[in-house]
Amino acid sequence: MGVEGIGARVVRKEDKRFITGKGRYVDDIKLLGMTHAHFIRSPHAHARVKGIDSSAALKMPGVVAVLTGQQLVDDKVGNLICGWAITSKDGSPMKMGAWPAMAPETVRFVGQAVAVVIADSKNLARDAAEAVVVDYEELPAVADMHAAIKAGAPQLHPEAPGNQVYDWVIGDEGAVSAAFSKAANVVKLDVTNNRLAPNAMEPRAAIADYDAAEEHFTLYTTSQNPHVARLVLSAFYNIAPEHKLRVIAPDVGGGFGSKIFIYPEEMVALWASKKVGRPVKWTGDRTEAFLTDAHGRDHVTHAEMAFDASNKIIGLKVKTYANFGAYMSLFSSSVPTYLYATLLSGQYNIPAIHAEVIGVYTNTTPVDAYRGAGRPEASYLIERLMETAARQLKVDPAQLRRTNFITQFPHQTPVIMAYDTGDFNASLDAAMKAIDYAGFAARKAQAKSQGKLRGIGVSCYIEACGIAPSKAVGSLGAGVGLWESAEVRVNPVGTIEILTGSHSHGQGHETTFCQLVADRLGVPISQVSIVHGDTDKVQFGMGTYGSRSAAVGLTAILKAMEKVESKARKIAAHALEASEADIVIENGEFKVTGTDKAIAFPMVALAAYTAHNLPDGMEPGLKESAFYDPTNFTFPAGTYICELEVDAGTGKTSFVNFVAADDFGRLINPMIVEGQVHGGLVQGIGQALLEHAIYDANGQPVTASFMDYAMPRADDVPSFNLSHTTTLCPGNPLGIKGCGEAGAIGASAAVINAITDAIGKNNLEMPATPDRVWRTINAA
């Protein structure tokens, strides 16, 4: 692997600028003549906008413009789109209400923008915003999903009667009924998957710059996928044609899914920059992030699992209500359907599954993909069910899982996914050994003698990553393909630039992607740079989400590298007067095997560009590109086991140990992988113990600041004990599965299973706050 090759724990190249405060984020960018935008947002969860009087604001110092939703309509700017079409069980397409970037008529959640003030400074824009008078007529609002689908509930969109977006099904209902009719045991569970606010460290921001002479727009924005942003902004919103729009996503401080989507603020900034003839900057604050960044999760589910007399699962039926908030965000429709229900088989051989998912509108912030996106909801449900079943059937929870593990691959589940490989026993074994599962009973007894309630919880998760085979997702309703692109540019002196369509916003691509090059060519990573996040520099690509950048993005780079190597090999063979088949690449040299004849890689590069001595017919230069479309999803899987103690007096949870045994296929940089797992586990634990985006019955957010929304801090989580069991992914040449979301997918169930084990009561919702745990302990 070499000191910087695949598998090496290379220190991150990008950290020097991040740690020394030299990162360049959108808000760090200042353009000449730049104006500042401040959005005027609805304080009501549901209201009619009867009028907007901006006359006083327009007279205030430094105010350039006050723009409203009606002006968007007048300029024929398109509404926000949802990019994945879902069909209900009755064959009808999903029912969507229009989402204008600023509401001309009706606001449907607190924080929805109705107007924007453009001024010479942010403070002046805020001053003027206070002088804009918006006349609202309040309408009845509904924030609770079950209330929203009741007869007589306030209606959000005329297009969606009963506030229902879709009623979608997957699986074979008849086969499931047959299984349940012969079941020896049936286990039932109701679970809520709590709504989360993503809270990337950097809030969203945008600077739009319109060049009137060139009729060209530049948009600097906090995006996980700048090309997708450009595509959507140009194809659907009628603001700028694709060839006249450059989208730059510079350093981005975390996304977790929330920066996939094209939001109203970016659209409005782009449109406004042309209207006012000056660059327009908007930087969201934390309150705006709570109110407008797409939230995650928010499911309520009833599930039943049927077992035969030997404790084998014979059927699973699931009914889930998914809260979409007030509007359908870009990929929201796919999250509780194809990203959720297709993983309901978990790690288990389940012959019959049927799931029904009902999507619901409420007067709350829109919900979309958040780290894991549907897969945490599936994993949490299945792993809570397995633990519940073990308790009901009075068998060891680990053994019940083992009894039902899939052991033969490939394995076709009844819910679309075909698992390619895995070794679920191996990761369960590794985790049980790491936590000394066998010794737990003694530890629990010991803790009990000291008045402590100790519990252990297992979670065997599986996810589908490497998103995604384009043809497959297209057949399921996706509006885009999910391949990735790469270009490898070898400079005449032999340094290398890798242009990738994926985007790094914390993942460490600038290091890991270089490691592939170092591994193949034996050049130091200091000679390689990664170029990403700029649509003018980089060929079209799909961006970063769904743990796809290594499995899909890096494979594209590999494909381009292979083309570069092939050409370089020909040049070297020609220069060395050897057969191409005899050329081997070692330590930065192209050698004739079995001889001491060699040419250094920079000399090959130089030869390609001087073109003085190339093989006949060969084009000069050394630059290749590739597009890689995966053939299947990848299936990272593993076992997490959590051991903890509950303080019966306060309900407070204290971790004793947390072990993770993951199978991510091949690891490029184990240090970065560990960092990804740590972060994911913290988010999973955050969901289990702390985080909850709450609305009151009228749709007012209760948790719109860090004073109320509990983000996990370092002292809320334990030190993690990580290990890896590896089965290489057969679907891509590097054998990579992906690691970005696993922790957030698997951790929550391990924690709740451990707490419910400790307190001896099975019904406990997330977040398991001390209050909630204490009340559960003391409930009759």
Binding site: G649, G651, T769
Partner: protein, 266 residues
């Protein structure tokens, strides 16, 4: 933030004088409440008078049976002060639990008690230790100082200069942290004075702010031990309730935290 004029006072007298000249001035201590509120435009003082750099207002001193913490002393200084740890270890411990490190480096005792957040830590210590609040005009007993939610006996423009604590025979503090804000979800300070009086104060629990807990004081008077509180039941009426804790839960915490504070006090 609205436009404001910042003043850095070099003495208490100068600060008081600046305040008198301004229409809508606010004193700034550590800024842990005022600055976030100003950034959200929920407050817009014409003038901000910074007390944090007044040398006479910073420091921890012990003299005889009294520990004095000057008003602009940051929590971190109290938490790490050998003087404080020797005189009243429970008080230094309390300071170490306030907020997070960033808050402890900036926040001050004077700012905390002047704000009198119903879930702040220090008010419980002042009340339980029968401390005296020293201002530029007078001395105020802790029992007279706290007047309910975000309300104190301070007059307009009056500046807290120090808090003096009688060194108790025993004292202990136990806190259940609010998971988001790190204020007290409920915390209890127990003290046994050198004259044998038992004083118990709870913060984060009552809708009226920091409070003495008579039932617990009486039980501990009879028997200074955690088990003395086993049969105590704190009524939930009048207690705070929010997404992080029901009133019943807080009632339970008053008792449990008191038991743990007694155990810590020894």
């Amino acid at each position: 933030m609205y436009q404001t004029t910042y003043h850095r006072a070099s003495s208490v007298d100068e600060a008081a004088s600046l305040f008198g000249k301004s229409s809508e001035a606010k004193f700034l201590a550590g800024g842990q409440t005022l600055l976030p509120v100003m950034k959200q435009r929920l407050a817009g003082p014409s003038d901000v008078i910074d007390l944090g750099k007044i040398k006479d207002m910073i420091g921890v001193e012990a003299s005889g049976d009294t520990l004095t913490i000057k008003a602009a002393t940051p929590h971190y200084d109290v938490a790490t002060s050998d003087t404080a740890k020797k005189a009243i270890p429970a008080l230094a411990y309390l300071a170490s639990l306030i907020g997070d490190p960033a808050v402890r480096y900036r926040g001050t005792i004077g700012g905390s008690i002047a704000n009198n957040d119903p879930a702040a830590d220090y008010p419980a210590a002042l009340l339980a230790l029968d401390a005296t609040v020293k201002t530029n005009k007078r001395s105020i007993a802790a029992g007279d100082f706290f007047k309910g939610l975000f309300t104190t006996a301070l007059e307009d423009g009056e500046i807290i200069t120090a808090v003096s604590f009688p060194v108790p025979a025993k004292a202990g503090y136990a806190k259940m942290r609010h998971p988001a804000s790190r204020f007290a979800l409920t915390a209890v300070f127990v003290a046994q004075t050198k004259s044998g009086e038992i004083r118990v104060a709870a913060t984060g629990a009552s809708q009226s702010g920091v409070m003495r807990v008579g039932a617990i004081e009486a039980a501990l008077k009879a028997n200074w031990s955690p088990s003395a509180l086993d049969s105590i039941s704190i009524p939930a009426s009048g207690l705070l309730a929010d997404i992080h804790g029901t009133a019943e839960y807080r009632a339970n915490l008053v008792k449990v935290m008191a038991q743990r504070a007694v155990a810590a006090a020894g």
